[in-house]
Symmetry: C2
Subunit: 340 residues, 2 copies
Amino acid sequence: MNPEEKFNLIKRNTAEIVTEAEFKKLLKDKKQPAVYCGWSITGKPHVGYFLPILKLADFLKAGFKVKLLLADLHGALDKTPWELLAKRYDYYLNTIPLMFKCIGSDTKNLKIVKGSDFQLSADYSFDLLKLSTMSTIHDSKKASSDVVKQDENPKLSGLIYPLMQALDEEYLDVDVQYGGLDQRKIMMFAREHLPKMKYPKRIEVMGPLISGLAEGGKMSASIPHSKICLLDTPEQITKKLNLAFCPEGQVEENGVLALMKYVIMVLKEDNGKEFIVERPAKFGGAVKYKTYQELEKDYAAKKLHPQDLKKSLAEELTKLLEPIRKAMKEKEKLVKEAYP
Amino acid sequence: MNPEEKFNLIKRNTAEIVTEAEFKKLLKDKKQPAVYCGWSITGKPHVGYFLPILKLADFLKAGFKVKLLLADLHGALDKTPWELLAKRYDYYLNTIPLMFKCIGSDTKNLKIVKGSDFQLSADYSFDLLKLSTMSTIHDSKKASSDVVKQDENPKLSGLIYPLMQALDEEYLDVDVQYGGLDQRKIMMFAREHLPKMKYPKRIEVMGPLISGLAEGGKMSASIPHSKICLLDTPEQITKKLNLAFCPEGQVEENGVLALMKYVIMVLKEDNGKEFIVERPAKFGGAVKYKTYQELEKDYAAKKLHPQDLKKSLAEELTKLLEPIRKAMKEKEKLVKEAYP
C-alpha cells in the first residue's frame, strides 16, 4: 500500500483528522507509525464497538503498530465502582480481542495495554502533577465535558481524566490517537498541552458517533436499551432490533442504518460479499446489496422496509457475535461478577 | 512527663486542637505517638518558622516521633517553578535542620522526609486517583483556599494539593498533623475524606498565624518585606525591624510583638533566661523580662518604646540566626541558584 492508499483507507468512515497534512506527512516519512485507541472500562461493550475495531483493523492493514488501551483507571475516574474495576477489566480483556477475531483481522501488530500498568509509574505520576500546574480548571472541565459523566456536584476525578489521556499519547509512544468524535475536546486539550511539557503533539483521528437504537442519543455503554451487547442472545438481538427506532425512509439518526453503514457493510465490502434481504415474492423477493450506498438509496426511497432490514441485520449480528458468545460461555462467573 | 504535662506543653501557643479529647486519649494510650508537619517548598524560610520549629521541639520533648515533611511536589503545585524545585528543596534541607540546632533541640526522634520520595509511589498515586473520585471540585477548592496562591484562572494543581496533604497523614503513618491555622480547611478535608478511603482520621493541632512585619497580613514566605529571612545579615535584620509596623502601645497585629511572644520569649522561658532591654538611664534604664506577659503589659502601657524593643530584638535575632548564617556561608552557590 502506498501512502495515499493508506490515507484513503484510514480516512474512510472517519469524521475528522487533525490534521490531514500532518497525517499525510507521517504516512510518507515513517515506515511503521503507531496509533492507540483507548477504552475506558465502564459499561458492557456493545456492537457499536465494531466501528473502532474495524478502523483499528484498517490501521493494521496500513502497517501501523496498534495499541489498544484498556483504561481501567479512566473507568474508575468516570464512576466505574472501584470494587468492580478488576472484574470489568477482565471482561473487556476477554471480549475485545475476540472482536478482532470476529472480523478476521490479522492482529500480529496489535498490542493490548492495561492503563494501570503504566499510569502509576513514578515518571507518569510526576508528569501528571506537572501537567496539573499547566492546566487550568476551566480547560480541564471543558476538555472532559463530552466524555466524563456529568454531575451536579462534580468530582475532581473528572478533571484529572483528560490530563491522563494526554499523557497516554506520550507514554504509549504513539504518533496518532484514534477515538470517537466525542473525544475531540480531550484530543485538542492534548495537542495544546503536550508541547508545554516539551512532548510532541499527536495526530488525532476521529470516528463518527454512532446513533443508538433508542430514539435520540448515541449508542452508549451506559444506556442499556440503546445497544446490542456482545453477549446478547439471538433472541435478545431480535427483540432489541424489533424495538429499535427506525422510521421508514428516514436515513438520519437511525441506529439500525448506522450499524449497517459502519459495521455490516464495511465487512461485506471488504470481503467482497453481499448483504442479502430475504423477502416473500409478494413483498419484492430477495434483494442483494454490495455497498451501503445502494442500501441507503433503497431505504430512503422506501423500497426497503425497516422490518425486513431488521430481520436480516439480526441474522448478521447473530452470526458475527457467535464466536464471542461461545468463548464467553466458559466465563459465566466473570460476566456475573463484572456486571452484577 | 505524664499525659497531662505533655498535653499542656503541646497546647501552649496553639490556636486549636481537633479534637482535644482525641488528643488526650492518644497521649494516654500510646507510648510514642507520631506527628508530622509539612512545609511546602516555596519562598525563603524566615524567622516565623521558629514558631512551628519550637512546637515540634515540644512534641519531641513530649516523646513523639516527629516527621518534618519537606513537600517539594506541594511547592510545585503551589507555583514554585519546576526548574527551581530541586535547588529550593536543597535550600530547605540545609537550613531547616539548623533551626533545631539554633534552639538546642534534641533531634534524636526527628526525621526529615522528602515529599517526592513517597508521593510518586504506585500505591500513593493509586490512592490519589481513588480519592479524587471521592472529592468534589467544590470541596477541594474550599480546602485549598487559604493555602494555595489564588489566581484568576486557577490551575488544577491547586485542587490536587489538599488531597495529597490528606494522604500524607496516612503515608507518613502519623497520629497527629501539626500546622498553622491557615491549614484548617485542608486538615478538616483530611478528617472528612480519609475515612472514605478506610483510613483513620488524624488529630489536627494548629498553631496561630503570626503577623508579618509589614502592616496587615501574615508573615509569609511569599511577601519579601514581611519577614526576616534565616540568612539575613545583622544589618538587614536591623533595617527590616526599624521599618516594621509596630505602633506604640498596640499589642494586636504587631509582627514585632508576635516574634517576641512565639519565638524569643518561648526560648527565654524554656531556658530560664531573661530578655533584657538596655536603655540610657534617662529613658528608664535597662529592663528585664522573664515572661512575655510582663513584656506585653509594659508595651501596652507604653512603658516600653517600640524603638528600644526593636533594638533588643534585632540583637536577639542576630545571635539566634548566627549558626545558620555561618553554616550557609559554604553554600553561597546553592543560595543563589535556589533564589536567583
